[in-house]
């Protein structure tokens, strides 16, 4: 009987494998050039107005924004380059922004790009008010003085040239797509100006893109005809796909395996700084973590150097607050908690808290979070704090965190990468007061912090230097309150087949491959 069960499973596995090959081999059979990207995470929503997860990988190939942000790792700043907008200017001290659209651009459904399409796209995102729609909060009015000009009137000054380059919620849709609902997009339809369009979406399995024949950028013969974004949650599978040539690009492989891949002549390991960081949110709404001294003691018990060293083979670096290097507003002098178990113990004793038992949740597929959690647990045990580790699926972990904070986890391991390149994005999403928690999963709430943050944000277009200083001061206020353990700034490590030409990582668009830039 048991053997029969095993045979059943083997048959199912066989069928699944056959399904994979049938989908990825289809293009090869037709003599078409296919790029296969192995992603460790699924794409929860393909609606460009509300998508706010790893789906940006698909969006960025099918849709475009008015501008694109190109970071400069050397200087830590960056430039805004034209995309759907050829040029732009601001007036009224950053309260009015005029974007002049590129001519001759058509959507994949054949409709021309015009000011009305841009206006309707932004309005759809604002109306749905999901995902990262907050990027449009300052926009009060959208005017279209002529077919190719869009004027954004703001309630307060904003660097809108950067805002419109966002990797989320800034995509421009065709007028026909604007009328569609979430279901239509997730069924595998798209309506963008990007070099590709969605051909088929198989949720949880893969998303297959085909070249957009109407693409305004034209078509180089050596570019790929199809892109398959293959979801491979298992890093072992992703690695073997890459090594055997079934995939051309992936990330999220164990750091321990990098040496092996570096020595493989068929593969290139591309290491860059990222705008991504790892934090451990502490539940500020639940005793005894509502006591700042208890949080301070926990922060001082964290094994920072061990986690950076062992967790990322030394490729990561200690975080100074929530804003990583490369993002303006980063504070290279910001105070860092240092590991000091004796002091942590005495601080904890002074608070009178005894027999402390905490629950920490982390994403069960993430080796770095697992390592950080286990090393922290071991350190805490030495000062008499018991930490229960709870590895969970991301959805379950997030659902628990979004429930009542009083019954939620004590500590939540969390990665953040920016919606667009601004310090505001980090501090707003992770630490500004929220009635219904979305990403502020330590439930930090401090009216003074909120007010300073908003003020710094509003200054960001009119007086960048003052704004930057204000962001730094606001972040220091945050650091002194220990709402989270700021663990590390992560490296971006992507592994690419060495016959792929033209690969450049842009950390402003986390783990996005701009497939049209590549050839084989």
């Amino acid at each position: 009987m048991k053997r029969r069960d095993f045979l059943k499973s083997a048959t199912l596995t066989g069928l699944a494998t056959a399904g994979y090959f049938s989908s990825t081999m289809f293009a090869a059979a037709q003599g078409r050039k296919t790029l296969t990207l192995a992603y460790p995470t699924s794409f929860p929503s393909l609606d460009p107005s509300t998508s706010f997860s790893n789906d940006n990988a698909v969006m960025a190939n099918c849709y475009e924004t008015l501008t694109r942000y190109i970071p400069d790792p050397e200087t830590g700043s960056g430039t805004v380059s034209p995309l759907l907008a050829e040029k732009w200017e601001s007036a009224d001290e950053g309260r009015t922004w005029t974007f002049h659209l590129r001519s001759g651009v058509t959507f994949d459904d054949g409709a021309p790009l015009n000011a009305e399409a841009v206006k309707k796209s932004i309005e759809r995102t604002k109306t749905l008010a999901g995902g990262a729609s907050f990027i449009w909060d300052a926009v009060e009015q959208i005017e279209t003085p002529d077919d190719m000009t869009v004027v954004l009137k703001l309630a307060y000054a904003q660097p809108m040239d950067v805002t419109v380059s966002a990797g989320y919620a800034a995509w421009i849709l065709s007028p026909a797509a604007v009328e569609q609902d979430n279901e239509w997009f997730n069924a595998g339809n798209s309506g963008g100006t990007g070099p590709y369009k969605i051909m088929r979406n198989e949720p949880g399995q893969r998303c297959i893109l085909a070249r957009n024949e109407n693409y305004w950028g034209g078509r180089d013969e050596d570019r790929f005809d199809n892109v398959v974004l293959e979801i491979s949650e298992d890093p072992v599978l992703a690695q073997s796909m890459l090594e055997s040539g079934q995939a051309d690009w992936t990330y999220g492989l164990p750091y321990e395996n990098l040496e092996r891949m570096e020595s493989n002549p068929d593969l290139d390991v591309v290491v860059n700084p990222s705008f991504q960081n790892l934090v451990g949110f502490m539940n500020t709404k639940k005793a005894p973590l509502d006591n700042v001294d208890v949080r301070r003691a926990l922060a001082m018990s964290f094994p920072y150097d061990d986690v950076v060293g062992a967790g990322t083979n030394g490729l990561g670096s200690r975080a100074r607050g929530a804003i990583p290097p490369g993002i303006w507003g980063h504070d290279p002098e910001a105070p860092m908690a240092m590991t000091n178990l004796e002091e942590a113990k005495s601080i904890l004793e002074a608070t009178g808290v005894t027999d402390l038992e905490l629950t920490l949740t982390y994403f069960n597929g993430d080796k770095l979070e697992a390592l950080a959690s286990e090393l922290w647990r071991a350190n805490l045990a030495t000062i008499g704090v018991k930490m229960n580790l709870q590895p969970m699926s991301w959805e379950a972990q997030w659902d628990l965190a979004k429930s009542d904070p009083a019954n939620a986890q004590d500590i939540f391991m969390f990665y953040w990468w920016p919606t667009y390149v601004t310090p505001y994005d980090y501090l707003l999403n992770m630490f500004r007061s929220e009635d219904e928690p979305i990403y502020n999963l330590g439930y930090y709430s401090n009216p003074e912090f909120d007010a300073n943050l908003d003020a710094a944000h509003e200054l960001s277009a009119s007086d960048r230097a003052a704004s930057e200083q204000m962001f730094r001061d606001t972040q220091r206020m945050l650091i002194a309150d220990y709402p989270a353990v700021f663990i590390m700034d992560l490296p971006n490590v992507h592994v690419v087949r060495s016959d792929i030409k033209g690969y450049v990582d842009n950390p402003a668009y986390a783990h996005v491959v701009f497939s049209d830039e590549l050839s084989k």
């Binding site: 069960d5 072992v236 321990e256 090393l375 071991a378 969970m392």
Partner: protein, 278 residues
């Protein structure tokens, strides 16, 4: 000399020896394991990913923990899961099977159809579904496997009772007016218990293997508790460069499951030859 051990044969005796050694090791784990604190879960970052050596016979894992110590401590979890699953399975399956077989009629039909519902699902798949619904953790893992385990005992108990029901001593008791519960408990249960307890002992290996399968899938014990299935899974990602992390606990599962299987065959053979003797 016709002792129990000699009736097991060479293979059975070796298997029994391996199992006894294994049980001794896990009972005296704090004394046997070279690094007991690492067996319990303490990391040792300075010794990460070391290959097998005289200091660490089976190497170390990504947390620098001695794999031999983890394997020994992981055995405690595996044995707990194996024993508890079989006991819970018997506690549910035995009464259901006895009542069904003895009562007959609609009670038998109802109980057996319920049993069939559970048997209709592949055992491992059912356990995975239940464990996924309950969440990770050793006790949830035990509940999940037990739910897929008891129907076999119910079936077996029922078929034994169907034979016993027609035996003269049972019919005599019925004629003498002894109540059904008393007949069940005093006359039927002891007769059914023996073959089922042998089967239960033989099932210990498969139950342990299922527990390892669940923890391999991330549905077993919570870290940092050592568990063989979880250890294999953790080592998979860095295989083949650090093969020992997955291979050592995998080999342990293989040896122990094989030992139980061989012992089971030997006991069955011994039972058969025993019954021929009489």
């Amino acid at each position: 000399m016709n002792t129990a051990i000699s009736r097991l044969g060479v293979a059975g005796s070796i298997a029994l020896g391996v199992i006894c050694l294994f049980l001794l090791a896990i009972i005296f784990a704090p004394y046997v394991a070279p690094f007991p604190e690492q067996g319990v879960g303490d990391p040792n970052i300075a010794s990460r990913l070391l290959p097998p050596s005289p200091e660490h016979w089976l190497g170390t894992d990504a947390f620098g923990r001695d794999i031999l110590s983890r394997v020994i401590y992981g055995g405690r979890v595996s044995v707990t899961i194996g024993v508890t699953v079989v006991i819970i399975g018997l506690c549910i399956g035995l009464p259901v099977g006895i009542v069904a077989g003895y009562s007959g009629g609609w009670i038998d039909e109802t109980l057996m159809r319920i049993t069939d519902v559970f048997l209709a699902f592949p055992a491992l798949l059912l356990a995975v579904l239940v464990a996924a619904a309950l969440g990770a953790g050793m006790w949830n893992c035990i509940i999940a496997i037990s739910i897929s385990w008891w129907p076999w005992y119910a079936r077996m108990a029922r078929s034994e009772v169907l034979v016993l029901r027609g035996q003269p001593y049972v019919e005599a008791a019925q004629v003498m007016g002894v109540s059904h519960p008393v007949i069940l408990v005093r006359h039927i249960l002891p007769a059914v218990f023996r073959p089922l307890s042998v089967q239960g002992a033989l099932d210990f290996g498969p139950a342990l293997l299922t527990g390892s399968a669940l923890s391999f899938l991330g549905l077993g014990v919570r870290p940092p508790t050592a568990d063989w299935g979880e250890m294999v899974n953790a080592g998979r990602a860095v295989f083949p460069d650090r093969w020992w992390i997955a291979v050592m606990p995998g080999l342990t599962i293989f040896i122990i499951a094989l030992a139980f299987s061989m012992l089971g065959d030997a006991v069955r053979d011994a039972e058969k030859s025993g019954s021929h003797d009489h």
